[in-house]
Each structure stands twice: as structure tokens, then as C-alpha cells.
Symmetry: C2
Amino acid sequence: MTSPVTITAPEGTPFIEIVRDFDAPIAAVFNAYADPDLVRRWNGPNGYEMRIDAYDLTTGGRYRYVHADPEGNEYAFTGVFHRVRPDELIIQTFEWEGMPDEVSLETMRFSDLGDGRTRVSGWSVFPSIEGRDGMIENGMERGVVEGFERLDALLAH
Amino acid sequence: MTSPVTITAPEGTPFIEIVRDFDAPIAAVFNAYADPDLVRRWNGPNGYEMRIDAYDLTTGGRYRYVHADPEGNEYAFTGVFHRVRPDELIIQTFEWEGMPDEVSLETMRFSDLGDGRTRVSGWSVFPSIEGRDGMIENGMERGVVEGFERLDALLAH
């Protein structure tokens, strides 16, 4: 079962909220965020290759990964995990290296909807309203929607 | 010489800007942020004791410190360093543990004003406007102003 993504980006604010439900138990959904071998299989837009250089989903850990499009253009992302509580919470920084030092802070909360279903609620804060708007204009939604659809498929196995 | 602090918190936004000039070269000012033995001597309001549990000012490092007021009440702060470039830039998360999971992101830029003077420009982003307002109402300004005055004294030696 595939659910819609709700992306909310109130005008004149630096915030983005992303909410998505999954037809899988919370431990399985969290694990798909925690295990780099799984992350690689669902994160990002369709048709991109994902290479993970570092991915230590623990409080104080860091990550760096690269999405390569079919033409071989690479997009690298990096950050640190401020707080991780398994099956509950991830707070991390997020930077696209193509726009260095423009860092956002993301909080993802995992909640049990019952009946083996799970909600992931993400809250991103950007250092400026323009930075937030730029992220949306640069196709963020496509990567989010397509990535979550691949995550549905991964969780169904 | 002591300079005023400029604190700007535009109404209806989650941002705080803090700008302060110091009568010392950039390497000395940055070092006062980098060396925990120095940080302990200037950070926070007057009359508080500062205990540092962790302080690794490098990209991917983390920190945790505790301010204790004269009555012995403790206020703990923790975060990770997303990016550090000596004498130039610190990007870090910031959490007061008394309000868990309410994390802000701080960017501090160090710039050379010439004549041995240095500007530190800080930009904080909070996950909500209410969180930003709460930080201001809870006496942030006093800690900033008094801390920077003690930093002036430290740099004058």
C-alpha cells in the first residue's frame, strides 16, 4: 500500500514539514533509516545511484553520501546526528555540498499508528527563507516522493 | 576596549543574529572558542561555574557543558559540530537539556576587521518561532553580554 506524502512549506517561513505513513511496523521503518545497506536502496530520486561514504546513525555520529544521476553528475550530502533514539527520533544536520555552509536541521519522529503501520514526521529548518525556497525549487519533492515509494517496496518484502 | 553586542531577533521569525567586535586578532579570538580551558573562563553569565564534559571543536566533534549558578542549580548544554574551519567558521547544533529535543543550529563567522580587531557574527535558527522567543525571554542576552565582557578581559591578557 502506498500513502501520499504531505509536504507543507508555509509562505514566508524557513520550515518544511514532511509527513508520510508506511504499512510496516516502526522497528522495520526505523531500521530502513539506520542500516546503510537499506538506506542505499530507497533514498533519493529514481534512477540515481547512491554511494555511502559514512553513515553512523548514533548520537554524535556523522554521514556523507553521494547521489549520482544517470549522466554521472554527483550530488553529495553531509551532516551529523545530534540525537538518535531508535524507533523514535533522529535529529540531524543536513548540507548539500553544492551549497557549502548552508546547513539545515532536520527532526524526524517515528510514531506507531497501530495495525503495524508507522508515521514518519519530518521537520526541517533552514538558515533562511530563501534557502528553504531554493530547496523546494530544486526538486526536493521528487526525491522525497520517489524515495518513499521505493521504501514502500523495500518494506513490503 | 569593550564593544556593544548587537542582538537582532526579527518579530515573527525563528532567527537570532548576534554580532560582536573584539579588540584582538582573529587567531586569538578563535582560540578562545577552541580551547576548553579558555571557553570555561568566559562562556555564560557572571557568577556561574562552568564544567565541561566534552568539547572537541572539529568537524564531527561534540560538546557538552554545564553552567551552575551560585545556588548550585545546573543548566546543561549539548551539541555537535557540523563544520569547523579554524579562524573562520563554526556551525554547530545547540540544545539546552532542560528542553530536550528542541535543537537550534548556530553559525558563527570570524572576520578580520584589520588593526588587530575581529568580528564574530552569529546566526541562530530555532525549530519554531515560540522556541526562539522563549530563548530570549529566558535571559539569553545577559549570558551573551556578560560572557563577551569576560572574553574581552581574557583577550586583553
